[in-house]
Amino acid sequence: MRVTHRDVVCSFCGTLCDDIEVDVEDGRIAEVRHACRIGTTKFLSASRHEHRLLKPMVRENGRLKEVSLEEAVERAAEILAGARRPLLYGWSSTSCEAQSVGIELAEVLGGVIDNTSTVCHGPTTIAVHEAGFISCTLGEVKNRADLVIYWGANPMHAHPRHLSRYSIYPRGYFRERGHQDRTLVVVDVRRTDTARLAQKFVRVQPGRDYELISALRAVVNGRKLPTDEVAGVSREDIEELAEMMKSCSFGVLFFGMGLTQSPGRHRNIDNAICLVRDLNTHTKFVIMPMRGHYNVVGFSEVLSWQAGFPFAVDFSKGYAWYNPGETTANDVLQRGECDAMLVVASDPVSNFPKPSVENMLRMPIVAIDVHPTPTTMVADVVIPAAIAGIEVEGTAYRMDVVPLRLRKVVEPPEGVLSDVEVLQRILERVKEIKG
């Protein structure tokens, strides 16, 4: 029998599309509609059990061996409770409920907890501490925005439905003709697939975004540029873009890793926020980070409720301590300050730079994940988990900090628990060991 689930939330990227239709036949996902290429694959691959982690494993004599869940939990608890300062990392591709248990575990262990925003919009968070933030919801973008700028972001690849659901193509309350009522501008070092759709593409020289933002601020604030070009962009182009920004009725600046990962890092974002603040003396303008993992925002929310800080919290002093650059995952790893790792719903062996990975490989690793990854390949304990948003319910926050309820459409593989349950079992056992 085929059952159709409507308005399912896709748990892949921060766009968190909530209009997905999923057909389930004989307990397996048979068809997915409305999702992008990546979202469709995520739903369909959930039912390809041959490509999933199904059994808990523990490393013995260099090889991963299948064990019972109890044995894997015991070994994980021993590794973590025995560490002086474990690093608990990942968290952005799971529910707020799992994040909450993970934060308690970090506190009980006296460890460091950090999520993937440390390698995506961590610099944005630092900039917001400095400069504040002028933002809105994606619904407001859909209904009001007539100028949409993507700076250092390529949503056609990383958030494939962002343009069609919120920013450019949908008809909005004040934008009845959809894309005909909006202008798309892309600033990037490459002519990306998103840039190819833009009415205006501005090619900035790599690593010189800060200068270009400063030049735009100067022109927006009524100054004349003393040079013919800045950061590879002509004065005419800068003046034209400044005029477009000042004369729109509702502008939005979406930005991505092109700003956070380039030289300048948080200073680029600080300057961009100040540009948006300057623009609000002329018109309505907002700024929004293009958040990658579907619940990366949720982690910052939950950690702020429980520990008072948005990422990179160190509990080793007996209280919550936050200092990016000191307590951030890559810095802790590279200084060799942690002696064990718990990785949840993430793959730092793939996604961390070489010096961090080299140090990771020197310490015991416990990994909780859905699929085999380079991190589970080198881990000492591997515990499979059900997929939040497909096999278990939960809460996730969209990139505009709107919480949405994740749905369950199929049962998880037999014997596979949610990461909430796995983490609770580890936490219980750690509490017993720690007394």
Binding site: R59, H157, D193, P206, G207, G325, D331, V349, N351, P353
Partner: protein, 129 residues
């Protein structure tokens, strides 16, 4: 030839990642370097050829792919273990490693692109763990 190396997401990388990182499709989506067509001509390489990409952190042989649009002087490698083997660790006290805007030297070279397991072995210099 000198390039500015940028790493980041592609839809093919995201799709392959959700199918499974141990599958061959993931390697085909990630163990590549996208170059501007004119830069490819200057290097004398065509799509599917291999090149050696060298940064201050490491070097790897990767497949060449034509970039979707022009990007003179910029080399792009999709996010993944191959890209990050070439990335250093200095976070400038922000927590963020330098994933973008890295100096790289690219030379044409007929060689073997390392598989995922071979790449992990480069780290441990032995069987994975």
């Amino acid at each position: 030839m000198r390039f500015t190396l940028i790493t980041g997401r592609t839809v093919a990388q995201g799709d392959a990642m959700e199918k499974g990182k141990t599958e061959e499709e993931f390697m085909k989506a990630c163990a590549i370097v996208e170059l501007d067509p004119e830069d490819m001509e200057k290097l004398g390489v065509r799509e599917g050829d291999t090149v050696r990409v060298k940064t201050s952190e490491g070097e790897l042989v990767l497949w060449v792919r034509k970039a979707p649009g022009e990007q003179p002087g910029v080399a792009f490698i999709p996010l993944g273990p191959w890209a990050n083997y070439l990335i250093g660790g200095d976070t400038e006290a922000t927590g963020m490693p330098p994933y973008k805007v890295v100096d790289a030297e690219i030379t044409p070279e007929r060689g073997k692109v390392p598989s995922l397991e071979e790449l992990l072995r480069l780290y441990t210099r032995e069987e994975v763990r």
